[in-house]
Symmetry: C2
Subunit: 778 residues, 2 copies
C-alpha cells in the first residue's frame, strides 16, 4: 500500500507535468501560426480571418514577439470564465453549455461536502486510535488515520458517519433536483427560442411495408395522406447510397494525393513528382503522380456518376424508410408520438434527428436485423468488459511491488531505491490504465454503429453507456477487488447477496490512495494534455504543409473536433462515483476530485468557447443519463457503507442505513416522472405555441420550400458541389465527425425532388434521373 | 412423503366430491325455481322471462317433474361446447371469450407434451434403477420411479431430458406465439366491428393545474380549444360525489329493511312489524318498523338532495380531472398518446375507460398521492406475502405426520389407521390452503383500490398480479421449500446466486405428489363447487323470500356475478407454472393438469354462456399479462432444470441448458415488441378508418348529443331515477360489480350539462343547481 510519501511524489510529478503542459499550451497558442489550432471556433463562425500562405514572409505573423503576453500565461482561464452562460449557449449550443454544467455540478455537490467532511468527519476519525492499537493486523498509512478505518469497531462515533451519510445523500439529491429542473428549463427555453429547423416538422418513418402495387414513395404518400389528411405535407425517401459514399470517400483520398503532388510540383517545378502504382505507392510501376491521380479521379468520378444514376434510378435502392414532413409542428409532434398502424412493428415513427445528426449509413439496415444486432453487440460488450480485464489486471499487479520483489529477487536493488519505488507505485498503474483506455472508445463506437442507431447523438450516448460500464468494471472494480477480475464475476455468482456489501465494504476503503493517484494522472494531467491539443496541432501543420492549396482547404484542415461526449461522460461520471463512494469513508479524496472538477470546468470552458465545433445539437438530451448514473453511484455508495458499517460491527446504527436506498430510489422515480419526458417528448402545447407564433410572424412562409432538400443524403450534396466544379476536401460519408455537413453550408440546388403532398398527380411513378442532375417525376 | 396409495385415496375422494357436486348441480339447475340462479345471463339479455310470485300455485313451475331430463345430467357439457366462438363473443364479450381460450391454451400446450412425456420420458426413467440402488438414501414412491429422480447420476439418458426440454420450450413458445397473434387479431376485429362507444371519443385528463383566474371547467376548455383546435368537442368535469354515494348506499340498506317490513306486514296484516332503534335492531326503543324506516328514508333522501346541491354548486367539489371528448376518434387517439403540457406531470391524458368501467371513487385522489400510495401498498403487499406464510406453513406441517407422531405419541393409534392417515396426508393440506386463500382476494382488491386505479378492469388486473405473486410464494414456494417460509427469504439473501438453481432442483422434484393432490382439491372439486353456485343460490332464495316485491327487484336479486379475473387468472397461471415446472421432471402430473384444464374449459364455458354478466369489456387487455407470466414460468422451469441437472452431476449436458433462458427472453422481447402495443395503444390508421366509415354511414350524426351524459357519476343517475319516482334497489356507488350501470339502461335526461365546445359563450360560470333537476349555465 502506498504511503503518504508515495502520494507526495506522485502529486509532485503530476503537478509538474500539468504545469509543463499548461506552459506549453500558453506558448503555442500565442503563436499566430497556430491560431487555427487553438481558436478554430472563431474561424468557423467567421469572426477571425487568418492570413493565407502567401503572407508567410513576415515573421510576426508566425511567432508572437510580444513578451508581455507570455507573462500572463494563465490568463486564458479568466477569459474562459468571462462569457456568460446565455451567450455561451448562443455561441456553442445548449449541449456544450449543459456539458460544462456537469463539472459545475461536481463542484456544487462536493465542495460543501468536503468542508463538512474535514470539519466533522476528519476530527472524529483522527481522535480515535483503532489503527494504532491494531497495527499488527492492518498496514496503515497516514491517510488511513484520518479516514473511517481509524474508528474502533462498534464505536459510538459511527453515528456521526451515519448522520453524515444522510446529510450527504440529502445534499446530493437536492443538488441533482435543482440541476435537473434547471437543465429541463434551459432545454425548454432553448427549444422555444430556436429558429425554424427542418427536424421540427419532420418525422422519421421506418418499417414501411412493401406494397405489390405501388412504389415505396407512393405508398408513404398514400398512407400519410389518409391518416394525417390535414397535416401531411411532403416526404423524402432514403436511398441506399452507401456504395456511392464509399466511392466518394475513395476519391477524396486520391484527391489528397493529387493535391500533395501538385503542391510538390509547384514548389519544385523542375522535377515532376512520381509514384509507384502498387499498394500505398510502395511497389509497382513508377508513373507520373499528377497524371496518375488525375486519371484515377476521373475514373472514380465516372464510377460515382454511374453509381449515382443506378441508385436514383433503381427502385430497389430505395429503403423502406422515409422522412415525412408536416405542415405544422403540431402534426409532426402528433405523428412522432402515436402508433400509426395496426401492426405495431410497421410504420414506426420517431422524431427525425437534425439533418446533420443523421447517421445515414445505418438507415439502410432492415429493422428486423436491429434486434439481432442489439443482442449480439450486448454479448460482445459483455465479453469485452469482462475479458479486457486480463491485461489490465496484469499491469495493476505491478503496483504490488512487494510481490514482484519476492518473485524476482534480482530486481530488488533497483526497486528498493526510494524514488523509483515511489514512482512505480504512484505513477505507473494510473498511466498504464490510461493507455489501455485510449483505444477503447473507437472500438465501442464501432460496436454502437453496428448496433444500428440512426443518429450521431444517439451513437455518442450509447457508446458513453458502454464505456461507463467498462470503466466501472475495469477501472473501479478491477482496482478495488484485486485478483483476476473475471474471476470476480465468478465469485459474485458464488456469493450470497447479503455477502456482497461486506466484500465491498472491506475492499473499497483500502484503495483510496490508489484512486488519488489515478485522479492526478487521469484527471489533472489528462485535462492539461487535452487543452494542449498536440495531436491536432501536428496534423494541422502537416496538412498545411502538404495539402492546403486554398483558403477552404485550410479551413478543412483545422479539425476543431468536438467535446466527444462518448468519452467525457464516462470519465466525469467515474469521478462522481469515486467522490460519492469515498466521501464518507475517506474524505481526504475530495480535494483531489474538487481540483479535477474545477480545473476541468475552466479548461473545457475554454475549449468549448475557442475550439470545439459540435457536430449536432441535441438540446441536452443526455441529461437524464448523467442524472441516473449519479443516482446509481449514490445507491452503490449506500450499499458499500452497509458493508463498512457491518465490518465495523456497528450493530446499532447499520439498520438505519437501509432506509437510504429506498429513499434514493423514490427520489429517482419522482425525478424520472417529473423531468425525463421533457427530454424525450415534445409537448403539443409547445408545438402549437410555436406554430401560432410562426403563423403570426411569417404568414406567407413557404414551408415546403424550406423543407425541400433538408433530408438529402450528404453524398448527393457533395456530388452536386462537384458537378458545380468546386469539388474539394469535403465530408466523408461515414465520418461526419470531422467536418459537419450543415445544410446551410451547401447550396439548395434540388437534387432529389421532394414528393409533394399537395399535388397527388405529380407522384405516380418511380423517380428517374434527368441529365440536369435533378430528379423529375413524369 | 405420500405414496401412490395415498394419492389413490385422495383421487377417489375428490372424484366423488366432484361427481356429487355435478349431480347436485344437474338436479338444482333443472328446477324452474332456480332458473334465475343458473341462467341469469338469458334473463339479463331479455331472452327468458320468469314467472312472477303470483304463479307459485302450480307445482311444475317450481319443480321439474320430467324424469328424462335427469338421465342426461352431464348434457350441459355438450351444450356448453356447442356455441361457436364468434357467437360467444357477441353473447358475452371478447373478455370472456379470450378468458376461455386460456384453458384451451393449457390443453394445447400440455396435451402433446403429455403424450410425448409418456412416450419418451417415462420409458427412459422407468428402465433406470437409481432409486432402487440408492433406496436407503431417498424414500421413494412409485411415482418417483417414472420420474426423472429414477435416472442415475451422470447418466447419458439425461440427454433425452435435455432435448425434451428444448422441444418443450419450443412447443410452448410456438403455441404462445400463435395464441398471442390470434388474440391480438381478435382484439382488432372486435374493436373494429364494435358499435360507437363514448370511450372511443373520450380521453381522461388528470392533473389539471389550478388557475387563479378561471374555473377548472373553463380552464380545460381553453386548454384543449387552443391545443386541439380542430378536434376538441366538449368535456365533462368530475365531481367529488363520494359522500353523496355513501348517503345513497345507506339509503339502499334502509330501503331493504323497509321492503322486508312491508312484505312481512303484507303477509300477516294483523301484526305491524316492529324493530328496535339501536345498533342492528338489537336494542333500544321498540318502534313501528315501517314508519321508522320510511322516516329514515325521507331523512336520507333530504340529506342526499342537500349533499347533491352542495356538490354541484361548490367549485371545490370539482376535481382537477375531466373527461374530454373529441369530434373524431382520431383526435382522441392523438390526445391520449401525446404529451400535452411542458410540465410532464400536468395535463396527463389517457384513454377514458368505458363509462361502466370507471371506478369513480378513485378519481378524487390527488395525483401526487398516487406515488406514495403505490409505494405504501407495495410494501404492504410484500409484508402480506411474506408473513401470511406463517399460518400456511403451520397447516402444511400437518402433512408431515411422522413428525407429529413423534411429538404426540398418544395420537399414533388414530393416525396409524390406514384410511385416516391417507385422508390426512392426501386431503387436508390442500383444503387448508384453499380455505386460507378464500378471503385473500377481498383484501388484495381493497389494497388495489387504495392504490388508486381509476377503472375496474385495471383494478382486477393489478389485484390478479398481487394474488399471483402471493400464490407463487405461499402456495408454490412455501410448499416446495418446507420450513418457515419467511426464513426462506432470509436464506435466499444468504445464498449465492449460483446456489439457487441447486436448491430448487433438489426440492421441487420431491413435491410432485403434494401438487397432484392440490390439483385435485383446488382444481377439480373447486370447479365443480363453482358451477354448483351454492352461495348465489341461497342468497337468491333469501332475497326472493324477504325483499322481492316487483319483477325489477327479482332481476336485481339474481346477482349473476362475473368470472372474477382477479382470482381466476392467478389460479390458472399457477397451473401453468405447475405444468411447466413438472413437465420434464415428473410427467405424471400432466394428466391431472390436463383434466383440470379440460374440465375448467367446459364448466366455465357453461358459466360464461349462462351465468356471468361481465361488468366491463376491456377487449382482452389482460392477455399480455397472461402471456408474460407463462414465459416467466418457462424461465423458472429452465432455472430449476439447471439445478436438477447439476444435482444429477450431468456435467456434459448442463451447459446446453444455459442457452434456453436466453432464447426464451429473446422470444419474449420479440413478442412484446410485436404484439403488446396492440393491447395498449390505439393506432391512428384504425381510428381514421372508423371515422371515415362513420362519416359515410351516418353523415348527420350528432356526436355531441351521443356523448352528452356518458361520463356522469352513476350516483347522479340514481338520484335522477329516484326523482322520477321509480327508486328501487339500484347500483350502490362503489359496488358496481353487482349491478352494472350501463348508460343505455338509463334515460338520457340531462343532469350535468355538457360544457360544449361549440359555443364558448355558454361556458363561463360555475354550474348551479336548477329546480328542474338539471344543471344550467348562466
Amino acid at each position: 500500500m502506498a504511503t503518504l510519501q508515495d502520494l507526495g511524489v506522485s502529486a509532485a510529478i503530476n503537478i509538474s507535468i500539468t504545469f509543463l503542459f499548461l506552459i506549453g499550451f500558453a506558448f503555442l497558442k500565442l503563436q499566430p501560426v497556430n491560431d487555427r489550432v487553438y481558436y478554430p471556433k472563431w474561424y468557423i463562425k467567421g469572426l477571425r480571418k487568418g492570413g493565407t500562405k502567401g503572407d508567410r514572409r513576415s515573421l510576426d505573423k508566425l511567432v508572437n514577439l510580444d513578451y508581455k503576453q507570455y507573462l500572463y500565461f494563465l490568463d486564458w482561464m479568466r477569459e474562459a470564465l468571462r462569457m456568460p452562460e446565455s451567450e455561451l449557449i448562443e455561441h456553442a449550443g445548449l449541449d456544450s453549455a449543459v456539458y460544462l454544467r456537469i463539472y459545475l455540478l461536481g463542484l456544487k455537490i462536493f465542495l460543501p461536502l468536503m468542508i463538512l467532511g474535514f470539519a466533522v468527519l476528519v476530527p472524529v476519525n483522527v481522535t480515535d486510535n483503532y489503527l494504532v492499537s491494531s497495527a499488527s493486523q492492518v498496514i496503515s498509512t497516514n491517510i488511513d488515520k484520518i479516514s473511517m478505518a481509524n474508528v474502533k469497531n462498534g464505536s459510538q462515533r459511527l453515528w456521526v458517519h451515519l448522520s453524515m451519510t444522510y446529510v450527504f445523500t440529502a445534499w446530493t439529491c437536492f443538488m441533482l433536483y435543482i440541476e435537473y429542473k434547471t437543465v429541463a428549463g434551459m432545454r425548454f427555453r432553448f427549444l422555444a427560442t430556436e429558429h425554424r429547423r427542418p427536424d421540427q416538422f419532420t418525422v422519421l418513418v421506418r418499417q414501411i411495408p412493401p406494397d405489390p402495387d405501388e412504389s415505396i414513395s407512393l405508398h408513404v404518400e398514400h398512407f400519410f395522406r389518409v391518416n394525417h389528411p390535414d397535416y401531411y405535407l411532403s416526404h423524402q425517401v432514403v436511398y441506399n447510397a452507401n456504395k456511392l459514399a464509399k466511392i466518394v470517400k475513395k476519391r477524396e483520398a486520391v484527391q489528397n494525393w493529387l493535391d500533395y503532388s501538385q503542391l510538390k510540383y509547384a514548389r519544385n517545378p523542375s522535377v515532376r513528382p512520381t509514384r509507384r502504382k502498387g499498394f500505398c505507392g510502395l511497389w509497382g510501376e513508377t508513373v507520373d503522380a499528377i497524371d496518375y491521380h488525375t486519371a484515377q479521379i476521373d475514373q472514380l468520378t465516372k464510377e460515382a456518376a454511374a453509381e449515382r444514376e443506378r441508385v436514383l434510378g433503381d427502385e430497389k435502392a430505395i429503403m423502406p424508410v422515409a422522412f415525412v414532413s408536416f405542415r405544422r409542428r403540431w402534426g409532426a409532434a402528433v405523428c412522432a408520438q402515436t402508433q400509426q398502424s395496426k401492426n405495431p412493428t410497421l410504420w414506426l415513427t420517431e422524431w427525425a434527428p437534425e439533418p446533420r445528426d443523421v447517421y445515414w449509413y445505418n438507415l439502410a439496415i432492415p429493422y428486423v436485423e436491429l434486434t439481432i444486432r442489439k443482442l449480439l453487440i450486448t454479448g460482445a460488450v459483455f465479453a469485452l468488459i469482462f475479458f479486457f480485464i486480463i491485461p489490465v489486471t496484469f499491469v495493476q499487479s505491478l503496483a504490488n511491488l512487494d510481490g514482484i520483489e519476492k518473485k524476482a529477487k534480482f530486481l530488488k536493488p533497483i526497486i528498493e531505491r526510494h524514488f523509483i519505488k515511489s514512482f512505480l507505485q504512484g505513477f505507473l498503474p494510473g498511466l498504464a490504465l490510461k493507455l489501455f483506455l485510449h483505444f477503447l472508445p473507437v472500438i465501442l463506437m464501432i460496436m454502437s454503429k453496428i448496433e444500428g442507431h440512426v443518429c450521431l447523438s444517439m451513437l455518442e450516448r450509447v457508446t458513453a453507456v458502454k464505456y461507463y460500464y467498462f470503466m466501472v468494471v475495469n477501472v473501479f472494480f478491477a482496482s478495488v477487488l484485486t485478483g483476476a477480475a473475471f474471476e470476480q464475476l465468478n465469485a459474485f455468482f458464488h456469493q450470497a447477496a447479503s455477502q456482497i456489501p461486506k466484500t465491498l465494504g472491506d475492499a473499497i476503503p483500502m484503495k483510496a490512495t490508489f484512486f488519488i493517484t489515478f485522479i492526478m494522472v487521469d484527471g489533472w494531467s489528462g485535462i492539461a494534455g487535452d487543452i494542449l491539443r498536440l495531436k491536432p496541432l501536428i496534423i494541422y501543420h502537416l496538412k498545411n504543409m502538404f495539402l492546403v492549396k486554398t483558403e477552404k482547404d485550410r479551413e478543412n484542415a483545422m479539425s476543431p473536433g468536438s467535446a466527444g461526449f462518448d468519452t467525457v461522460f464516462p470519465q466525469v461520471l467515474l469521478y462522481f462515483l469515486l467522490g460519492t463512494v469515498y466521501a464518507i469513508i475517506t474524505p481526504f479524496i475530495l480535494p483531489f476530485i474538487i481540483i479535477y472538477f474545477g480545473f476541468a470546468y475552466v479548461s473545457y470552458r475554454h475549449q468549448v468557447i475557442n475550439v470545439y465545433d459540435p457536430e449536432y445539437e441535441s438540446g441536452a438530451a443526455f441529461w437524464p443519463q448523467i442524472h441516473n448514473r449519479i443516482i446509481a453511484s449514490l445507491i452503490f455508495e449506500q450499499i458499500t457503507l452497509l458493508g463498512v458499517f457491518s465490518s465495523k460491527k456497528a450493530a446499532d446504527s447499520t439498520p438505519f442505513l437501509i432506509g437510504l436506498p429506498v429513499l434514493t430510489i423514490a427520489f429517482h422515480i419522482y425525478c424520472r416522472n417529473r423531468f425525463e419526458p421533457a427530454f424525450v417528448k415534445y409537448p403539443l402545447e409547445e408545438a402549437m405555441a410555436k406554430d401560432t407564433l410562426d403563423k403570426a410572424t411569417h404568414p406567407d412562409l413557404n414551408i415546403k420550400r424550406f423543407l425541400q432538400n433538408a433530408y438529402m443524403h450528404p453524398v448527393f450534396k457533395i456530388e452536386e458541389d462537384d458537378e458545380e466544379g468546386n469539388y474539394a476536401l469535403d465530408a466523408p460519408e461515414d465520418e461526419p465527425a470531422l467536418v459537419p455537413t450543415k445544410p446551410h453550408s451547401h447550396g439548395n440546388t434540388p437534387v432529389v425532388s421532394v414528393h409533394e403532398g399537395d399535388s397527388p398527380a405529380s407522384a405516380h411513378g418511380s423517380p428517374t434521373y434527368a441529365s440536369s442532375g435533378s430528379l423529375i417525376h413524369h
